[in-house]
């Protein structure tokens, strides 16, 4: 499913003293099959944007009212478009439940939404909710088993346990299993690796690649860890103050060191090292992944030796 957003704006507490604009005229397309990254500071609108993708935040109908009012002072706003596959999210009549089955959204710290008595029940929650007719116990067990196994947990070991007995990393895996159990085509994750140690982070990213290969065609991650983006994403969008500044593959994006720094954003470690090398007069062309960086550097050293 392709995600298309055009001229998308959103204001919290619209028309009150507390009004804050979260999105300003955002236009963005995510192709099917991408591993897409969204980068931005806190308050840049990235979370608001991803919550639009499965209809938790709706496109306000006031957008449509604006269009009718044609005067010289208020030129008609360009039409807002928000589409995920065939779902038109600007239309109130869209079946948002069906949409949510196809677009899985994993919130930040998803382990905090676990609630059931056992891991099995918790993972089954979404599966049962989205099932068209009541699934049999066998079907539920099978779906839960598959979901737990794909996130790297042993069904026989954890299914009967309380989710609160597990370790932090395991809890997060269970929570992710609880979202992917319905086999969504698009998987959106808000800071999936936040709060984990480096090993845990790498494991989660490996898990996401596995899911991308085997379960969900399109993966969108929100992150402020630039290394995560440069290592994993096919393309990344940079959000700042509610609008999209760049949409580029990491290889091109992280050449814009100064522009990113001006937005208060970091650059990956590899980009920082390349900068130092450049200052020392060595120019290396690299796609900013650690692997490529190491390969290029060793090649360089090999040449000199």
């Amino acid at each position: 499913m392709r995600i298309v957003a055009e001229h998308l704006s959103y204001t919290y507490n619209a028309a009150t003293l507390f009004a804050t604009t979260a999105l300003k005229d955002v236009s963005l397309t995510v192709e099917e099959g991408e591993f897409f990254g969204i980068i931005g500071h806190t308050g840049s609108g990235k979370s608001t944007f991803v919550q639009h993708l499965n209809g938790l935040i709706r496109v306000p109908s006031s957008m449509k009212r604006y269009k009718k009012k044609k005067s010289k002072k208020n030129p008609p706003l360009p039409q807002t478009v928000l589409q995920v596959g065939e779902f038109d999210l600007t239309d109130k009549k869209t079946n948002f439940r069906e949409l949510r089955r196809h677009v899985g959204l994993v919130f930040q710290y998803p382990e905090y939404q676990l609630f059931a008595e056992s891991v099995k029940e918790d993972v089954a929650f979404g599966f049962k909710n989205f099932a068209e007719k009541k699934p049999t116990d066998g079907e539920v067990a099978e779906a839960v088993r598959a979901a737990l196994e794909v996130v790297g947990l042993d069904y026989n070991e954890v299914a009967g346990k309380s989710p609160f007995e597990l370790s932090g990393g395991q809890k997060r895996r269970v929570a992710i299993a609880g979202v992917i159990v319905t086999r969504p085509e698009v998987l959106v994750l808000d800071e999936p690796a936040a709060g984990l140690d480096p090993v845990g982070k790498r494991e989660i990213m490996e898990l996401l690649h596995k899911l991308h290969r085997e379960w969900c065609k399109t993966v969108v991650i929100v992150s402020h860890d630039m290394d995560e983006i440069s290592e994993n994403c096919t393309r990344a969008a940079v959000f700042a103050e509610g609008s999209v500044k760049y949409v580029l593959p990491p290889r091109e994006l992280f050449r814009k060191r100064d522009e990113l720094r001006a937005l208060g954003l970091d650059i990956p470690l590899t980009a920082r090292l390349l900068e130092k090398l450049e200052q020392a007069g060595v120019s290396v062309d690299c796609d900013f992944t650690a692997e490529d960086f190491i390969a290029k550097i060793s090649a360089l050293r090999g040449d000199r030796a």
Binding site: Y12, N13, T20, F107, Y112, F125, N129
Partner: protein
């Protein structure tokens, strides 16, 4: 939570907003006393006059003030209807069995409506113009005398301000958990009462856990900074009376005296 503006506080700066919260609380108490002491429309008119001046000075939009009244509309209508029909008076306009409409009844219920409206308007003016933090500071300071009888005033104020501080955080959290469960297909809007109550469980349990976790973290953080409350603490914002408060005090005293005088001399007593 981002879509819900919490509480009543209307954040602008005005004469009333900048008054000392202690004085505002005392003024409110005096004002309510005056409303109850008033025995005539003249007395209520004094109260209403001062209140209108206060509303104008506070820069709170009139619509907001009316919204406070709308909240008690039902009670107002209910009590006035009861009074109209059941009040016994001499000049009878209409009667049927035990119900009757009298001149006295009409006047009395009008009086009651005015009283209720004034009560609600003046109390909501306090919350419109005083932030929750100022309010707890004011209450703590006003309750200080109770320390003499070993009443834990500071702890009470601390509990109040922590509770107030946590309401928006927990509302935020509720919203987040609700959204997370909605993303997993939870349905909070449809179904019978039993189904709806059951639907809350996936929100309630994580919320409770997170509240406990936050409470523990806050306790640890306070311990880590050697918080022990009470005595030797200084305040970041010291409450000070200013010329505004003198005016407020005079207005409050004026209202009470006026109402008491009217009552004593029986001017226009119903």
């Amino acid at each position: 939570m981002k879509d819900v503006s919490f509480g009543q506080y209307y954040p602008v700066t005005s004469f009333i907003h900048r008054m000392d919260p202690r004085l505002k609380i005392l003024f409110l108490i005096a004002f309510i006393t005056a409303i109850f002491l008033a025995t005539s429309f003249y007395g209520l008119a004094i109260c209403a006059g001062v209140l209108i001046i206060a509303i104008l000075l506070s820069r709170v939009p009139i619509g907001k003030v009316f919204r406070a009244i709308r909240g008690i509309l039902f009670i107002v209508v209910f009590t006035s209807v009861l009074n109209v029909f059941f009040y016994r008076g001499e000049t009878v306009y209409w009667s049927w069995k035990f119900l009757s409409v009298t001149r006295e009844g009409l006047i009395f219920s009008a009086f009651l409506v005015c009283r209720l409206v004034l009560l609600v308007t003046c109390s909501s003016m306090l919350t419109y113009t005083t932030s929750p933090v100022e309010l707890t500071d004011g209450i703590e300071s006003l309750l200080t005398p109770l320390k003499w009888v070993r009443f834990p005033v500071h702890e009470l104020a601390l509990i109040m301000s922590i509770a107030l501080r946590f309401i928006p955080i927990l509302m935020d959290e509720t919203e987040r958990i609700k959204n997370a469960q909605k993303a997993r297909g939870a349905n909070f809007e449809s179904g019978g009462p039993v189904k709806r109550i059951r639907a809350i469980v996936p929100v309630l349990i994580p919320l409770l856990l997170s509240a406990l976790r936050r409470a523990e973290e806050l306790g640890d953080a306070m311990d880590a900074r050697c918080y022990s409350g009470g005595r030797k603490r200084t305040k970041f914002k010291k409450l000070r009376f200013s010329w505004r408060d003198v005016i407020g005090f005079l207005a409050g005293a004026g209202v009470v005296t006026g109402v008491v005088l009217l009552r004593v001399y029986g001017v226009g007593t119903l």
